[in-house]
């Protein structure tokens, strides 16, 4: 296996707060890497450092061998790194299809406008928005907007997908559907880095898990080993009984 993304000693401070503190990890091609940790641990900041929304104070980020440290978000997107937002960011007055066409036009494939339409439709259908193609994004439910985030990112035909809490705020049925979509993404060969608070979901989806706390890596390993790690239990899971239950449900 080869590394698709290498994060090396990356750091970012806001004022006196070290949001991400000399963090290093690697994502291998075709794996699903889970990123967990308490609120404020620096997970979303890390996403912003990877895709260029923030410039790191220190360290390097490499994507497919190329140094993308401090590159602007549109360049990173063009290279094949797509992401979703924790707080959905639909282009509200534009339809579902137009939203996805933006992803297709300006993503890795850099498609012309006419051909983007087809890629946009395919991505929207893939996440289950086939009945909403011509609906303005503003009129979607929250579950619909979450799916749109994912569809837009997919329309770009990314090599690596960063998913920021795509399951948060969904009801159990919607969560099941979304997990199904993510599994099918893996079958397509897309590498995924996923932030999630829903423990059962992330333990069953991930090949490996990195646990963040105060911007530092607290633990890293298979879902089972992470769930059994006393430090993780203390800092994040809180309850040894829950940890045992989770460890029993993992893929490993």
């Amino acid at each position: 296996m080869t590394a698709i993304l290498e994060v090396q000693e990356v750091g970012k401070s806001f004022g006196g707060v070290r949001a991400v503190d000399r963090l290093s990890f690697v994502i291998e091609e075709r794996e699903i890497l889970g990123l967990i940790g308490p609120n404020g641990a620096g997970k979303s900041t890390l996403f912003n450092l990877i895709n260029g929304v923030f410039r790191p104070d220190a360290g390097r980020v490499r994507f497919c061998g190329a140094d993308i440290t401090g590159a602007s978000p549109h360049r990173v997107a063009r290279l094949g790194l797509a992401r979703t937002h924790q707080i959905v960011q639909p282009l509200e007055a534009m339809t579902v299809l137009e939203n996805c066409a933006v992803g297709a036009c300006f993503g890795r494939e850099n498609l012309p406008r006419a051909r983007a339409q087809e890629a946009a439709r395919e991505a929207a259908v893939f996440v289950g928005l086939e009945d909403r193609l011509d609906t303005p994004a503003a009129q979607l439910t929250i579950a619909g907007k979450k799916r749109l985030e994912l569809a837009r990112a997919l329309a770009a035909q990314p090599l690596l997908l960063l998913l920021d809490e795509v399951l948060a705020g969904l009801n159990p049925t919607e969560v099941e559907r979304m997990i199904g979509v993510i599994r099918r993404l893996r079958e397509r060969g897309i590498t995924i880095l996923i932030i999630e608070h829903l423990m059962q979901a992330i333990m069953s989806l991930s090949d490996r898990i990195v646990v963040l706390n105060y911007g530092k890596r607290l633990a890293e390993g298979t879902p089972a080993s992470v769930a059994n790690d006393p430090q993780v239990i203390e800092a994040y899971l809180g309850d040894p009984a829950l940890a045992r239950e989770l460890a029993g449900k993992t893929r490993a």
Binding site: N51, V53, S72, P73, H74, A77, R78, A82, R83, H85, Q89, P90, L91, E92, A93, M94, E98, A101, V102, G103, C105, F106, G107, P112, R113, A116, R152, A156
Partner: protein
């Protein structure tokens, strides 16, 4: 493009503008339509930045005024022929817009709007103190300037047809941009600039490109307009009322549509002409414009086109 009905709608509008005064040599009608072509050109170009990309530009008149100044200047002392002077003026203004654009388009919202007023005022102050441009007393062209175009009578017709052509080109530009990948990027920027950038839209480049692209045709219109009057002075060339009116026109017609700004410009121009000549309301058109803007923003945020689309949804496929 040729197979789309809207292409022929634009062609029809251009044909009507060109033919209506030409039939029967109606000079009075021609003069009243001159201002309509200028308003449509200004509003349509401004709409690409304001309606598509969502950047409110209060100083768009600077392109028109500067185009006028450069054209009149180049035809004066250096005695360049009209087509060359016109094209040079347009190219120079576009280039300048690109430089300004890369600077001020880092700002957003109210800060950008203020900066656009600053650009207009700055350029006006520069011209007022720039001796080759005649300072605050302006520049005159001798009447002999009309000679190469076949005398004043023929020249005024040629200028009118050129203004109609520029209006048509503006409408086609607006339409072509809207249907293109570039236009999709601009619309995405208008909706949510940060999200657009994360999706891969090169926001800075696109914004500056749009700003520069939409400076060209207004600069040509300014060149022709001031060539026609053979006189230009700073207070006319950089009149902020003009660019504020362009914003009212866009809101009236429907921002982000191709038809709206043109329709709004024509209606506004008619209203303005009527108010200027009426005894009760002389010079009162700005009060009306202000009230109109308030009413539209409060009750018709989509403008006339928004209202029409709401009543007849199928109109969307005919009038973009």
């Amino acid at each position: 493009m040729l197979r789309r009905p809207f292409f022929w709608v634009i062609a029809l509008v251009v044909a009507v503008f060109a033919a209506a005064p030409a039939i029967g040599n109606n000079v009075e009608l021609r003069e009243s339509l001159v201002l309509a072509t200028v308003y449509i050109t200004l509003a349509t170009n401004l709409n690409v930045v304001l309606g598509y990309a969502g950047y409110v530009n209060f100083g768009s008149i600077v392109f028109f005024g500067l185009g006028g100044y450069l054209c009149v200047y180049l035809m004066g002392a250096p005695a360049w022929p009209l087509p060359v002077a016109l094209f040079a003026a347009g190219a120079a203004v576009s280039l300048l817009a690109l430089v300004f654009g890369l600077g001020i388009l880092r700002l957003r919202g109210a800060y950008f709007a203020l900066a656009t007023i600053g650009v207009n005022e700055g350029v006006e102050a520069f011209v007022e103190n720039f001796t080759p441009f005649g300072g605050s007393s302006g520049l005159y062209l001798p009447v002999t300037m009309f000679k190469p175009l076949g005398g004043p009578m023929a020249a005024l017709w040629i200028v009118y047809f050129l203004l109609v052509a520029i209006m048509g080109a503006s409408l086609y530009l607006s339409y072509a941009v809207k249907r293109s990948k570039f236009g999709l990027g601009l619309l995405a920027i208008g909706q949510n600039e940060d999200a657009a950038q994360v999706l891969g839209v090169p926001t800075r480049r696109y914004k500056a490109l749009a700003y520069s692209l939409t400076a060209f045709l207004p600069a040509l219109a300014g060149g022709l307009y001031f060539f026609k009057s053979a006189f230009i002075q700073p207070s006319d060339a950089f009149d902020l009322t003009f660019s504020t009116e362009a914003i009212v026109i866009i809101m009236l017609g429907g921002q982000g549509t191709v038809t709206g700004p043109a329709l709004g410009a024509y209606l506004y121009e008619e209203l303005r002409g009527w108010l200027l000549t009426s005894d009760t309301f002389s010079n009162f058109q700005l009060v009306i414009a202000g009230s109109l803007l308030l009413i539209i923003v409060l009750f018709l945020p989509g403008g006339l086109m928004g209202w029409l689309y709401g009543r007849w949804p199928r109109l969307r496929s005919l009038l973009e």
